[in-house]
């Protein structure tokens, strides 16, 4: 399985995992296990990959319990906004059809190799939020040799769990129902990602920072700028559980204008 960095969602026990795999055989083996686990748990399972077939059928699967989709479905159905609402409907449909929840395993490699972080970031943030708010377990798979290493680390930062052949990120960033939750270390290697994630928040926002172990001055400046610009638009920003070092350093950054 490899190293695991966990950002377990304690509220529902569901997870949004990023998994780095080696080759197709590796991928389909995991898909088979994932599907069987989902079937055994009573969930509806959706697999999304370049090929619609690749793993053996699950044992004891009920009719319409396992759905196989192609990656082109994502690309054809309106990108992030289209898929966010579609996934919500899929969860609702699964529950209405008598299943316990929804599980999704997707080979994100074709998407990650053809899109840039700024296109993928909103999708992964929204997917993580959906996984935490609904009865969902999601695995985003990346072929480690095909995806740019820096992009892999950035994408991994947006997941609750990192498994397999993906470099462990320094921090994890999740979109929550009222803002953003950040854990780990923020420095120049992920400062741009942090800034982009802040920009994805809407309305009044809470930035939950109890899990932040380190924050460099550059990241503090990003946060300060976000607070000032956001409050200028009439939205409120609450910084929750700021690390003591940030509390001490923050006033020092006001400087002399």
């Amino acid at each position: 399985m490899g190293r695991v960095l966990s950002h377990e969602n304690s509220a529902t026990g569901r997870r949004h995992a990023c998994w780095g795999y080696g080759d197709e055989e590796d991928f389909w083996h995991r898909v088979g296990d994932f599907v069987q686990e989902g079937v055994d748990a009573g969930d509806r399972v959706v697999t999304m990959a370049a090929a619609r077939v690749g793993s053996p059928p699950a044992r004891d699967a009920q009719p319409r319990q396992v759905i196989r989709m192609g990656v082109e479905d994502f690309q054809r159905n309106g990108g992030v906004p289209g898929w966010t609402s579609r996934l919500r409907r899929m969860v609702g449909d699964a529950l209405n059809d008598g299943f316990a929840g929804l599980r999704l395993i997707a080979d994100a490699t074709p998407i990650a190799t053809s899109a840039q972080l700024r296109e993928l970031l909103p999708w992964e943030l929204q997917l993580g939020r959906l996984a935490s708010e609904y009865s969902m377990r999601v695995v985003c798979a990346l072929q480690s040799s095909a995806v740019d290493k820096e992009l892999s680390v950035d994408l991994a930062s947006l997941h609750d769990v990192v498994e397999g052949a993906v470099p462990l990120p320094l921090a994890t960033i999740r979109l929550t129902s009222d803002g953003l939750s950040v854990k780990g270390e923020l420095d120049s290697t992920n400062g741009d990602l942090f800034e982009a994630a802040l920009a994805e928040t809407t309305g009044d926002v809470t930035i939950e920072m109890s899990g932040v172990d380190f924050m460099d001055v550059g990241s503090m400046r990003v946060l300060r700028r976000f607070v000032m610009e956001t409050e200028n638009t009439g939205r409120s920003v609450t910084l929750s559980s700021i690390p003591d070092s940030v509390t001490r350093c923050w006033p020092l950054l006001e400087g002399v204008s």
């Binding site: 420095d187 460099d216 070092s245 001490r248 350093c249 020092l252 950054l253 400087g255």
Partner: protein, 302 residues
């Protein structure tokens, strides 16, 4: 020199030899500031505040008083207090107080006064600095005269012939160096990654200061790496109640004569030296030829 809203920073020294003269002169300066609609702030201990208040009478409530012990505990804290007090005020501020250089830190206070001329250029601030000549050596008095362009508590401000540009003054009063007395407990060479360095600083610091040590060492190392691809050496000494870290830069990264006294510019790159000066219990920089070093010490909170 004339008083006016567009004059920028006015920095004036007043030399007195009695408490009575000092309080009278501070009150006189405060009255002028109030007449000019300036925001007047007097830094004084409790006894002196009472004496000055009796002179200000019913205008006392228009003056803000700051506690002298906390504001002037060290030059670095004085600079931070001043910057925080000024904030982004647009209205002219008149800051009145007595600086006591003392025997141990007089060169640091001289550097502080010189730094004010650099840091507050163009700001709408009148700084009236009082010195009790009974507590000053001739040498310190002469140095304080060199760091204040003006003399007197009220306008018209008398120009001082003794004034020297701040960069010249600090050359005569270089920052002291911190010399650990033994070999380092940890020596890192050819450093190019930040994460292991900040982790090491946190590990070797007393628990109550681990976060500050990690942040400051990270920022100083990042500053050195901005000028060169590697940092030649980072040395760390650990004691039960403190940690000392010395970062040797391959260039003159740390060679700022006002290191630790110059507040961070909003988009500038001197923030590492500023926060080192504010967060560390001790901080010194030095330059030797083409290289420079920064040393910070963090002591356990008690």
């Amino acid at each position: 020199m004339s008083q006016g809203q567009d004059v920028g920073f006015i920095h004036s020294a007043v030399f007195v030899d009695s408490e009575e003269e000092l309080c009278r002169s501070m009150a006189e300066s405060a009255f002028e500031g109030l007449e000019l609609s300036e925001e007047v702030i007097i830094t004084a201990d409790r006894d002196r505040r009472r004496r000055i208040a009796s002179l200000l009478g019913d205008r006392t409530h228009q003056v803000r008083f700051d506690e002298a012990d906390s504001r002037y505990s060290t030059p670095r804290s004085a600079m931070h207090g001043l910057v925080k007090m000024l904030g982004d005020r647009r209205r002219r501020v008149r800051s009145i107080g007595e600086v006591r250089p003392g025997k141990d830190r007089h060169s640091e206070w001289i550097r502080y006064e010189a730094a004010l001329n650099e840091v507050l250029t163009g700001r709408p601030v009148t700084g009236v600095c009082f010195y009790d000549t009974r507590l000053l050596s001739d040498h310190t008095r002469a140095s304080m005269e060199e760091t204040h362009p003006c003399r007197g508590a009220i306008s018209p401000w008398e120009g001082s012939d003794a004034f020297r540009p701040p960069q010249d003054v600090v050359t005569d009063f270089p920052p002291r160096r911190i010399h650990p007395r033994r070999e380092p407990d940890l020596l890192l060479t050819d450093v190019s990654e930040l994460r292991p360095v900040r982790a090491a600083a946190a590990d070797m610091a007393p628990p109550s200061r681990a976060d500050d040590a990690a942040l400051v060492v990270h920022e100083l190392t990042a500053m050195a790496l901005a000028d060169a691809s590697v940092v030649p050496e980072i040395r760390m000494w650990s004691e039960p109640d403190r940690v000392a870290v010395q970062i040797i830069s391959a260039s003159d990264s740390f060679a700022d004569p006002f290191a630790g006294l110059r507040p961070a510019r909003p988009h500038g790159n001197n923030v590492a030296l500023w926060i080192a000066g504010q967060l560390a219990d001790d901080f010194a920089v030095a330059r030797t030829g083409p290289v420079s070093e920064a040393t910070v010490v963090f002591v356990e909170d008690r």
